[in-house]
């Protein structure tokens, strides 16, 4: 299904101004310098470019077709799915690495992907954008599609509360070109995200989209299974319009589901892209039935098809549905992306798999309670005995506030006999140990390992008494290790595991991939696929 892009770059014919060209050149030089030093530097080169020319991003992305993905959870995975589909269908695509989702990082990624004249080399781009950076990045990128995945509480000391984040997104979207040029894709099941499409009069927090009209498309999950009542910790229990308590026809997780307000009538709108049934789910994938409506056709003309998503857990079903929605919003045929969903792979610490000295290791990023709860649900359903490793840092990129671990439902797994041992690492390992004790994990299973070297030994060797272990005992050779970590633990540990398992560094992946490697193309963080 790989086909050649008819038009090859550059996609802009107007010359680059001297100022912008200088900024681009300096950016490339700084990055090359950092790479020589063995650093993955993404922010500093961009800062240098922005210092020289604040709007250089507009120049270096001019003429490109751009997807912007924002929201609390699922940005990286959704962007990865889109980039993979673009690459697999023979389109040139640039994707920013997940650490580079602020204006400086995004600028660097685009600037470094230009030719000698500072013109973009690729036609398509998928940009993962921090909610706070949306307002600066969107007016420069002129995206075709803006996708908002979901909104949960996240790093409260940094981003403030959920409503403030929503206001930032609300302020960021109108910066895009209105009308037919830009389509906004919203999570229909998230009452906060859905409110972005509300009319100004109905809003409690100011004019919506500042009077501009946007095409809106939605994605969501239908009533799949009977779920428990909405959790006490849900981030949106009261109507954003009138303050009454929402009622739900069904829940998927956290505050997502078929919500409606009994007072003012604000409710979930039936989405164009909807997962109507989960047909099968295991530790590596989910098979669902998805209803899609082609962008150019009437809403009545819908298709239902069976789709296998190559990633486990319910939240990845949302990510896949969001990606399909955005894909169609860009006017691309649904079949292309549906064909690549089975190839989806966990990228950059998100359900990513490693083979470390013959031992299966899966790394799951969990940096806020909603994401963590979903990861824990995945672990809850894990059938085989496994060893668990938990990592908690409180550095700037993580947020200094780690209290959220008490909002996540570790009780779900703590007394699971399938967990043979619980390794705990990170700057705040002591806090995590205490949380696990409270959750009900037997103290004898908990083992604090602060040094990374020792942790790695533990992961590889499975404890000192490896020789005497029987299958099913802690550290038995076939026993997988599941690692649940927050952001900076992930960065560091992933790098170590990557070296041990022979994967490439994320910045090395921008090199051209081999033809015909299938899913590999997207595992790259800057997946350039297919084209010469």
């Amino acid at each position: 299904m790989r086909r050649k892009e008819q038009k090859t770059g550059p996609y802009r014919q107007t010359p680059t101004s001297l100022r912008d060209l200088t900024a681009v050149t300096v950016c490339k030089a700084v990055r090359a310098g950092l790479r020589l030093l063995g650093r993955g530097g993404t922010a500093l080169p961009g800062k240098a470019a922005l210092f020289l020319s604040p709007k250089v991003l507009e120049t270096v992305s001019d003429g490109m077709e751009i997807f912007v993905v924002t929201g609390t959870n699922g940005k990286t995975t959704t962007a990865g799915i889109l980039a993979q589909a673009l690459a697999e269908s023979g389109r040139d695509v640039l994707i920013n690495s997940s650490g580079a989702n602020l204006l400086s990082g995004i600028t660097a990624e685009f600037a470094c992907d230009t030719d000698l004249h500072g013109r973009p080399r690729r036609r398509w781009a998928v940009v993962e954008c921090d909610e706070g950076a949306l307002r600066q990045a969107v007016p420069l990128l002129h995206p075709r599609v803006i996708l908002v995945t979901n909104l949960f509480r996240d790093q409260l000391d940094r981003y403030g509360e959920v409503m403030q984040t929503l206001d930032r997104i609300r302020a960021g979207i109108p910066a895009a070109d209105s009308g037919d040029r830009c389509t906004v894709c919203l999570n229909a099941d998230d009452s906060l995200v859905s409110s972005l499409a509300e009319s100004p009069a109905a809003s409690s927090t100011g004019p919506v989209l500042q009077g501009k009209r946007f095409r809106i498309r939605r994605f969501g999950l239908g009533p799949l299974t009977a779920q428990d009542r909405i959790s006490e910790n849900a981030d949106a229990q009261y109507c954003i319009r009138c303050g009454a308590r929402y009622e739900y026809r069904y829940h998927t997780f956290a505050h997502l589901g078929g919500f409606f307000c009994p007072e003012c009538g604000y409710k979930r709108v039936r989405p164009e892209t909807e997962v109507t049934e989960v047909l099968a789910a295991d530790a590596d994938s989910v098979t669902v039935r998805m209803r899609t409506a082609d962008a150019e056709q009437a809403a009545g003309n819908t298709k239902r098809q069976e789709v296998r998503i190559g990633l486990p857990a319910l939240y990845n079903v949302y990510n896949a549905a969001g990606a399909v929605c955005a894909w169609q919003a860009a006017g691309l045929p649904a079949e292309e992306i549906l064909q690549t969903l089975p190839l989806a792979e966990g990228s950059f610490g998100r359900m990513e798999r490693f083979d470390v000295s013959g031992r299966q290791v899966r790394m799951i990023l969990a940096k806020n309670p909603a994401g963590c709860d979903q990861a824990l649900s995945y672990l809850e359903g894990y059938a085989e005995p496994y060893r668990l490793a938990l990592g908690l840092n409180d550095r700037t990129a993580d947020g200094h506030d780690i209290s959220w671990i008490w909002d996540a439902d570790f009780e779900k797994i703590a007394s699971d006999p399938g967990i043979t041992e619980c390794l705990v690492t990170g700057d705040r390992a002591e806090d995590m140990c205490l949380r696990m004790v409270y959750a009900g994990m037997p103290a004898g299973k908990i083992r604090m390992v602060k040094e990374e070297k020792e942790l790695l030994e533990q992961i590889e060797r499975g404890g000192e008494q490896r020789e005497r272990r029987e299958p099913g005992e802690a550290g038995a050779p076939e026993e997988p290790v599941l690692i649940l970590v927050n952001y900076t633990v992930m960065l560091q540990l992933r790098e170590t595991l990557r070296r041990r398992s022979g994967k490439r560094a994320f910045w090395e992946n921008s090199e051209r991939q081999e033809e015909g490697t299938g899913g590999q193309v997207c595992a790259s963080r800057s997946g350039k696929g297919g084209t010469e």
């Binding site: 650093r39 993955g40 530097g41 993404t42 922010a43 500093l44 650490g99 580079a100 989702n101 602020l102 400086s104 990082g105 921090d130 706070g132 509480r153 409260l156 000391d157 940094r158 509360e161 959920v162 409503m163 006490e232 910790n233 229990q237 009261y238 954003i240 303050g243 308590r245 700037t396 990129a397 947020g399 200094h400 506030d401 780690i402 209290s403 959220w404 671990i405 008490w406 909002d407 700057d427 705040r428 002591e430 806090d431 140990c433 205490l434 949380r435 004790v437 409270y438 103290a443 604090m448 960065l491």
Partner: protein, 256 residues
Amino acid sequence: MKLRICHLYPDVLNLYGDRGNILCMRKRLEDRGIACEIMPLRIGETADLTRYDLFFIGGGQDFEQEVLLEDLRKGKKEELKAAVEDGRTFLCICGGYQMMGHYYETADGMRCPFLGAIDFHTVGARRRMIGNYAFSLSETSGGSTVVGFENHSGRTMLGPGVEPLGTVLRGYGNNGEDGTEGVRYHNVFGTYSHGPVLPKNPAFCDRILETALQRRYGEASLAPLAVPFEKAAHEAALAQVKLRRKPRRGRSSAWL
């Protein structure tokens, strides 16, 4: 023996892991063979508050606090004030703590009337006071050291003669100026400390439980419990706080 705990507004005042405090109180009671009943009281629900020995109020989002104030005005306000004067024990965190005062004044001068159960008020500031911090409890509250996490833009000013909960060792506390942290009034313990505060500070938790048991049963002596994990977490957090002269402020740049 049995202690009845009323968890006020768990549906809105549920930020920053404050429910960990409920888990902690329950665990430390049950480990000593004391029964514990926890009753969540949500918006719109009513209950006979005189049944309860201990009230817990956590922190919340601004948007949801408006919904809550309306519920307070519908009658709970007077009941809660009566419970305070009656010597019932309260643990109030951050937004829940501010709510016990007279009012909250926003940075642009808007006044939001609160319970007025204790003589203090809170004024919104531009700069948020965020970070790990530590304070030592006053003698009336046990004198131990508490480590926690503060995150508030409101600066709280205690009225004349009102006793603070403790003295700031590192961090901002009530307002970043006078070195006070929280409030202690009758049996009300008010603090800005998230974290959640109790699991890592078992001595503080026991002090609160003893206060409630004392009122109910006339005497209370809690047997000591082994706290290896609690101690490790407390000491690690304290060591980290001590490294800092001022709490770190949130920065949004991600340098790799």
